[in-house]
Symmetry: C2
Subunit: 180 residues, 2 copies
């Protein structure tokens, strides 16, 4: 097959896949993950059911793909914040707002949990490498794990002001030596 | 039915249920949650399959019951620590060690996640009511949510010393005003 063709097919494949994931996202937002069927996803994405099944075996696989895409987008967003400001505090605040705006209840499944664990490990490594002026009595990897977990509490706080307070509390844990 | 009979039947039921959950726990520990069947659970628990199905509809329901029991036991353990020492620091340290010794990978399922969320809310309320000498710029409910999430990082730290460092970092976040 000529190169150009391969490329064209690849980008068609990817456009179809994106359309399916977009459709699933809209349906999940409308009625929750339990109320979504393959037939509806196909219809909303504007593809035949046979085509849909070529990409995804079942609803869980679609939701899993959608969730994976979302997690990847969030990580990229945090990398962008770092590139822009080079301040880890900004990255951590951005992460807290992501947790606040996307509480992890949209697509509960084993896959989702694996994505979340994987993304969290990645994020902890990313943060650990960029922690600047922090307490010296604790390894940076452990401080990064602490911060990422602590900021996860943003998923259930009542307001943006509360997210900022959580960030402040978390940062003071990162910076101050223990008070004993 | 006379009262005594009712009581006898109720405690028999509960003993059978406990035996089933114990058997499931052993099997999960041996081969992970994916490798467990209803037939094996019945055999290990010393009950007939028909009896097992009277209590639990499928393996997931057994694992869910087992997990629920475990979560309840952990909460009770933390309440005991509080009753004994009346020091919230001890409760938080005990929680960190529970997270460290029981990382949440044993029985991944939607039910498990609901138990964990529910138990975490309960724990946050419990901690919030007992926080003594903490920073005053953040509501206690938010500080409790911060602490419980932060200590969840203990599930992946490498040692008991690291658990204690995590507790120290988390406590300093609770106590110190932000450094700006």
């Amino acid at each position: 097959m000529p190169k150009l063709w391969e490329h064209t097919i690849a980008s068609h494949r990817s456009a179809v896949q994106e359309a399916i994931l977009d459709a699933a996202a809209v349906l999940v937002a409308e009625r929750g993950p339990a109320g979504v069927s393959m037939a509806e996803i196909a219809q909303r994405a504007g593809v035949g059911r046979a085509t849909l099944y070529k990409y995804f075996g079942d609803v869980d696989a679609v939701l899993s793909g959608w969730h994976q895409r979302q997690v990847t987008a969030h990580l990229r967003q945090l990398e962008d914040v770092w590139e822009r400001t080079k301040r880890i505090d900004d990255v951590l605040e951005a992460y807290a707002f992501i947790c606040h705006e996307h509480p992890p209840t949209a697509a509960p499944s084993l896959h989702r949990e694996q994505h979340v664990d994987h993304a969290r490990s990645h994020l902890i490594g990313f943060v650990a490498e960029r922690l600047g002026d922090v307490r010296t009595d604790v390894p940076k990897k452990e401080l990064a794990a602490y911060a990422v977990h602590a900021l996860g509490a943003a998923d259930a706080v009542p307001s943006k002001a509360a997210v900022r307070r959580l960030v402040a509390v978390t940062l003071s844990g990162l910076r101050d030596e223990p008070p004993r």
